[in-house]
Amino acid sequence: MNKVVNQRAWIFVLPVVLLVAFNAIIPLMTVVNFSVQETFGDNVFSWAGLTWFEQVLHSERFHAALLRQLMFTAIILVIEIPLGLVIALNMPRKGPWVSVCLVLMALPLLIPWNVVGAMWNIFALPDIGLLGRGLNWIGFEYNYTRQPFAAWFTMVLMDVWHWTSLVVLLCYAGLMSIPDAYYQAAKVDGARRWAVFRHIQLPKLKYVLTIAILLRFMDSFMIYTEAIVLTGGGPGNATTFLSIDLQKIALGQFDLGPAGAMSIVYFLIILLLSWLFYTLMMRSEEK
């Protein structure tokens, strides 16, 4: 059969290409541009080669931020994925409570990110915030503006509050798509609750969980808004994650070269880890 070659298709693709070019490719190229040059005022540039990349990769500051970032992401994944799954498993499947639960779950996702940060900032203040005051009242020495551990605790709690809903909603949608016959068959086969989870629900949630983990990984690895509003990276550098550090270098110190190089390294790390997660989770399927 002859394939009809139709160049007109390009006309339809062009708007999207332009859009993507303006909002992604061109800005990214600017970053690439910065990353290989020394920048002076008045738009004067000089070639710097890979200097900035070497500097970033050897910088202890970068290593520390990366380590904090990895720890933060690991902690929230370990908490949010199982917690979201457990909540989704216990949500009602029909009846009037379904919509109540869904709305309650969706609420945190509807709040602008900087508002989330501001809310928790005030909520956790040791003198006037409900959480901070409460914790101190029951006897915990708690001050997130001074103690690194308290800052981390608040940060993790905020992220869990903000994003577990996403995992819940994804898992719930996945659970609802399992036909009743599976549960009935399991009942007839005499399967216990755990066996139903292990052999029916978990396998059917595989793809949904992969998406949930990927989304939560990427988003938490790029956390910026809520963190900068809540702690601003402090106390000291205790909660300075990669994005906050990047912002400090790029806009605080105006070191465009190193910032550009760091952006690219940052981007490549996310790309690599996402690919790794995805392949690992899909690999187990084929065995």
Binding site: P179, A181, Y182, Q184, A185, K187, V188, D189, G190, A191, R192, A195, H199, I200, P203, K204
Partner: protein, 355 residues
């Protein structure tokens, strides 16, 4: 293995059923022999799956009792009832191998390892699954998956009843036949009470010793395939079973004779029946209508070839009469007459047979 008894069983999906229409299943009394093969037959929405789920224990009846042998199991869970059920869509455990799938119901009941192995291999051999036991179940075709479902239903040696809920719906036509004869063979070999739900009359009539025909949540007739064919107790049964279905024509009774469109039909016995002014119909299967030298004058409207015979559509005034004419028999073109076989013609009052 068990005898199944339904006593005044009724079910409604509403908490407080008011009118007759609220009952998904109207009052049912039935007794099924141990080791028999039964079919529940009826159009979609007639309550056959509801009845099946009541027997399996996935649903609790609103009223009535259910007995396995002499044990009351009305309130028992599916597990306590020790039944097996095969669903319309193949249910398999994706992550397990074929072997593990078949072993699953046994493992859940903590059967000894050696016994599990013996049973799984035996059932797998019966279903021709033995060469793919180590394969992952998710990779199988629809009929392979349905075979696994069947196997999981049959693997336990002590089940009381095995139930099938339209198990061949998603199977390709040429494999349907294979699986159907497999089922029949399995019933013969393991000799367990089996209940088969379907809306396909061929499946029901070939599988079952006794067929329960249902409509709108009520049982219309319980009988052997031959009884359903020769003496349908309700015009619905006559129409639903057979292809084409029974001819149902308005009639009256005058002086002890059945009269159709002003013509008295000879030889039809109505016994002591007296016309009570109710709606009367006569029913006769196309197989028992023949062309004759005299009788009811008809006009042949349509002839459809169906292989071994032809389906002839004839008309008398406004009434359509269908008849089956065997291959090789001539179909008169003009001035044709038909006659109904008297002992194969029934009279129905408000749908129910009277003679």
């Amino acid at each position: 293995m068990a005898r199944v008894t339904l006593q005044a069983l009724r079910h409604s999906y509403y908490p407080k059923p008011q009118s007759d229409a609220d009952w998904a299943l109207k009052r049912i009394d039935l007794e099924w022999r141990d080791g028999g093969a039964y079919a529940l037959l009826g159009p979609s929405g007639c309550g056959k799956t509801t009845l099946l789920n009541l027997i399996s224990g996935l649903l609790q009846p609103t009223e009535g009792r259910l007995l396995f042998d002499d044990r009351d199991v009305t309130k028992a869970s599916p597990e306590q009832r020790n039944i097996a059920q095969v669903f319309q869509f193949p249910v398999i455990y994706d992550t397990m191998t074929v072997y593990d799938n078949l072993a699953f119901p046994l493992r859940n009941r903590r059967v000894a390892r050696a016994e599990i192995d013996r049973r799984v291999r035996e059932i797998a051999a019966m279903l021709d699954l033995d060469h793919m036991l180590t394969k992952r179940a998710s990779g199988l075709t629809a009929d392979g998956k349905q075979k696994i479902s069947l196997g999981r239903g049959l693997v336990r040696s002590d089940v009381n009843v095995v139930m099938f809920d339209e198990p061949l719906t998603v199977i390709d036509p040429h494999l349907k036949w294979v699986l159907r004869s497999k089922l029949k063979e399995l019933h013969y070999r393991i000799n367990r009470t089996m209940i088969y739900v379907t809306h396909d009359q061929t499946e029901a009539l070939t599988f079952a010793d006794q067929v329960v025909v249902m409509k709108d949540g009520a049982v219309m007739q319980v009988g052997t395939p031959v009884e359903l064919f020769e003496r349908p107790r309700h015009t619905f049964v006559g129409h639903f079973i057979g292809s084409p279905g029974m001819n149902v024509l308005p009639c009256e009774i005058r002086n002890g004779k059945v009269v159709f469109a002003g013509l008295a039909l000879d030889g039809l016995k109505v016994g002591s029946y007296r016309d009570e002014g109710k709606r009367l119909e006569l029913g006769v299967r196309p197989e028992f209508v023949h062309f004759a030298p005299a009788g009811i004058p008809v006009q042949v409207v349509k002839v459809a070839d169906a292989g071994r015979h032809r389906i002839v559509e004839a008309r008398h005034a406004t009434h359509v009469i269908k008849l089956l004419v065997p291959e090789g028999e001539a179909i008169p073109a003009e001035g044709a007459y038909v006659r109904f076989e008297p002992d194969r013609t029934q009279v129905y009052q408000d749908g129910w047979m009277v003679t």
